[in-house]
Amino acid sequence: MSEQTTTRSHKAEQVLERMGQKLNRQMVGSLLACVHCGMCTESCHYVLANPGDPTYAPAYKGDLIRKLFKRHFDWTGRVAPWWVKAGSVWSDEELEELKDTVFGKCTNCRRCTLNCPMGVDLATFNRMARGLLVSVGVMPEGVAVVSKDQWEIGNQMGVLKEDYLDTLEWMAEEMQDDLDDPTADIPIDQTDCEVVYSINPREVKYDPRSIADAAKIFHAAGESWTMASEGWDMTNFGLFSGDDDLGGSVAQRLYEKVNELRGKTLVISECGHGFRSTRCEGPNWAKFDVPFVMESSIFTMLRYIKEGRIKVDKSKNSRPVTYHDSCNMARSCGLYEEPRELLELVCSDFREMTPNRAENYCCTGGGGAMSMSEYTPRRLKSGIIKANQLKDTGAEIVVTSCHNCVDGLTDVIRHYELRIEVTQLVNLVANALVLEPKSETVADDASKEVMPGLA
């Protein structure tokens, strides 16, 4: 980058000024500690899919942000910038170049973080860089559109309230037909329930079956549950865009709705970034101490089985199944054993993919990549790593607990012409459900009315 330019653009000026406000001790530690040992290089699926191109190396990508830190905040870079590769940004074009890296060459999957001997958390400061660019309007078009929808309409897919409620009604009717049980319902805005169920708007728009499946499970478990008519979106584009204000606002909307309904537990449907944003990051972004329990629906379903509230027959899911760990769940929330426990209960042929758990590779759709179509060819090229992982399992079905991963995996499977279906745990659990005959269910419901709290 040329430092001969005499004036810095307004956007570049803002980015540098805001960087100073964003830096915390964790980030500064990560920015200082990299020794350029190169150990992280092969941990990145972009590197593995693009051999010979060092611009994908995590340390290289990190240096594009690190050089700004060194030049403007660290004395070594101030005194002798060329010696430590410190540099600045001067023009909007340079910000565009940075955008191409932080949005288009990294899915914030955190795999390099876990492979760094120094403990450098690239994903965290890559997200910070995204946030700085977003704050001056430099972002992929898709990120701008989705963020706007989430700010203005209240969910990231711009689903209108009428459409959402129509879909829930439709799913409730389907469930009633399916179960031949007119009492099966999807309650809306019920107060004082045990469970408030929050979902990803993708479920309303493209995968309503997962809502019906979840409803079927809640119904079978005799749960006291509800969905909210507003503030129901547990996804949070603030995680991807690096915009903490959006992150906090979206999370708070959800928390306040649960409070308003006096719900005891917020159950988060299967979504990696939604779980991480709502469960782990949201309280920090919103500076909000959440007074109720928050859990992934994976825990809820597992608990129902363990408590005998639902019965499942694993022989109903007999095709070979493998599990894809969502990066946000496994590497940022430590959620990787419970899905396996659940799979063992509802599937008869479960096969691990290698590597797995916190070492799994990204589906390619992480970090909001599915909304950044300008990077699709790059993303699909990097998908060869995931495609090979999937192929090696010999599984016919890949299960994941993340809607982004469903889309990312579907794209990879289509692109690499694999014969593998993608599904989620909720679908498998619903399929494995052993439902009591209707008469017994009604009798059970009647007994519940007499003795509330037994369910």
Binding site: G29, S43, A57, G119, R279, G334
Partner: protein, 223 residues
């Protein structure tokens, strides 16, 4: 022993060490001025297995657990080089105290041999690392002049440290003088270079471990 060598072994080292301590203190104070981010949410993961405390301990111990990370498992030769290199650093620094203050220890030929093997091996690793940094295009792309210079400096220092181990001036003092002058330069240069990474390591690892422990990721469980 000449006055110059005596000065290099004592006064020069003390001044350099004092300077390093001063700069390090300033550096840490500056670092701690940045506010640490916290976690409001209840912890995730299994409390019996993962807690912030366990996460921190695991994170700190990570450097001694090559099996814990895929990167060190797969690149075990590079990990072995890392171990040798850092053992060499420890031995060569220790030598700069042994020669002036406890020279009688070097009357043991076994100790001399052990130190020479360790530091000599570190020198060889330094040479390998230089070739790797220059020859590998990934490494070239991420390297700064400081990276090259620091590596070169340490490698040359290892060479003279290996020669200095016997503390023998019968053939002249040049090797001891060079070693002690290089050590002093090293101490003064370190706070400004990547070599100071060990200063940040405990902090970076502490915070990462705390976060990952709170979130149920550390200690990493493999399937």
């Amino acid at each position: 022993m000449s006055e110059l060598l005596h000065f290099s072994e004592h006064t020069l080292q003390e001044v350099a060490l004092g300077f390093m301590a001063l700069v390090y203190t300033t550096r840490i104070a500056w670092f701690l001025r940045f506010k640490a981010g916290g976690e409001r949410q209840a912890s995730t993961g299994t409390p019996k297995r993962t807690t912030p405390k366990r996460g921190i301990l695991y994170s700190w111990a990570n450097v001694a657990m090559p099996w814990a990370m895929e990167s060190t498992r797969r690149q075990y030769l590079i990990y072995a080089q890392f171990v040798i290199f850092h053992l060499g650093v420890t031995a060569a620094i220790g030598l700069s105290f042994v020669i002036p203050y406890w020279p009688h220890l070097l009357e043991s030929q076994t100790l001399v041999l052990i130190l020479q093997i360790i530091i000599g091996a570190a020198f060889l690793v330094g040479v390998i690392r230089i070739f790797r940094r220059v020859g590998n295009n990934y490494m070239r792309a991420i390297s700064s002049p400081d990276d090259y210079f620091s590596l070169l400096l340490l490698t040359v220092w290892f060479f003279f440290a290996t020669l200095a181990v016997p503390n023998n001036t019968s053939g002249g003092e040049w090797h001891l003088l060079t070693y002690f002058i290089l050590t002093a330069f090293f101490l003064i240069y370190v706070p400004f270079s990547k070599i100071s990474h060990y200063l940040y390591y405990p902090f970076t690892r502490y915070y990462l471990g705390k976060t990952m422990g709170h979130r149920g990721v550390y200690p990493v469980q493999r399937g």
